[in-house]
Symmetry: C2
Subunit: 199 residues, 2 copies
């Protein structure tokens, strides 16, 4: 289905190349934040002070640029899950992670759609990182379920459907993003068990 391995951008070794690479990434993050994932590539190049061809040399397609711009955030989620894995309260740990996940997924308009696709499509640059993130979240879910704090029949896929849904609402409600917390809480109250009981 997908034509070969997806292109993953790599920071060049040569000084001028590395400098441009960084400048493009910084400009891209800014542009994505204000204009969404469909931000003008020409504007990004101009903002970074390079010609459009240089942008394409480092990032041959939009997906590779988005991937590079959000790679660290995804990695942070994996790292956060690792730190939370030995927390005393597995439900609190899961909720804490979910909050961070929703926040990262809605870093800018259009990101959550890209991530949702990446989670299941191998032909996408961020597929590997998404898999790792998915697995790290699933582990926290399983721990909370083992402790009898979350309904046992909730699958990781369903959890991510809920998380991406909330993230999308957040993406599209920049006015008062606080209500997203309330939304997550509403959903969680339905997912958690009333009285703790082992599986």
């Amino acid at each position: 289905m997908s034509a070969g391995a997806p292109y993953i951008a790599r920071r060049p070794k040569r000084a001028d190349g590395a400098r441009n690479y960084d400048a493009i990434l910084a400009a891209a993050r800014k542009a994505f934040e204000s204009d969404g994932a469909e931000a003008s590539l020409e504007e990004i190049a101009a903002q970074a002070g390079v010609a459009i061809g240089t942008l394409y040399r480092h990032f041959p397609n939009r997906a590779s640029l988005v991937e590079a711009a959000t790679r660290d955030g995804l990695g942070d989620l994996v790292e956060l899950a690792r730190r939370l894995s030995d927390a005393p309260d597995p439900l609190e740990a899961l909720i804490e992670w979910m909050r961070h996940a929703v926040r990262h997924f809605s870093t800018f308009r259009g990101l959550v759609g890209i991530l949702a696709q990446s989670m299941y499509d191998e032909g996408t640059p961020s597929h590997e990182m998404c898999n790792a993130m998915h697995e790290s979240g699933a582990a926290l879910l399983r721990a909370a379920q083992r402790a009898g704090r979350v309904r046992a029949d909730l699958t990781p896929e369903e959890m991510f459907d809920l998380l991406t849904g909330v993230a999308w609402v957040r993406e599209n409600a920049p006015a008062d993003r606080d209500r997203t917390d309330r939304l997550l809480r509403l959903i969680l109250e339905g997912l958690t068990t009333r009285t703790p009981h082992p599986a």
Copy 2:
């Protein structure tokens, strides 16, 4: 903020105009369904057998075309709410309506984003219809709450946030849309009260 009243397309009286209007709408619905709300307008015009100028004459902007293509579906939701308003079980009525709402919101990719904006922004062609739809759904929610079947602190806005979130997931999961039903059920179990009690 918004520049005057938003343009609402109206079906022309003259025979050739009316015929083209209908042809464009039919082509647009098809194109939206397969390519999403960003479908090529030139392709739609070609498919309808008219020149691009004719499309623009009837629908001066994309928003007016989307509005016209989805107007009936929104109206159906209002009508459905009216019919369900005297159902014996107000919770079942609400759930039935929610299912239809999610399905309409995810008629094609990109629609739910447009609707979410229209719900709160007056400068949008479908604002009026969205308001009516919003109010009709809110009435069903209030009835279920009066009967003590839904938690009393859930606002209509929160309900629509949840509905649009689920609709977005459905939009982006064309592979197995059935899981959306499960998603809605998961959320509902959290929103409904365990034992009925009057407000």
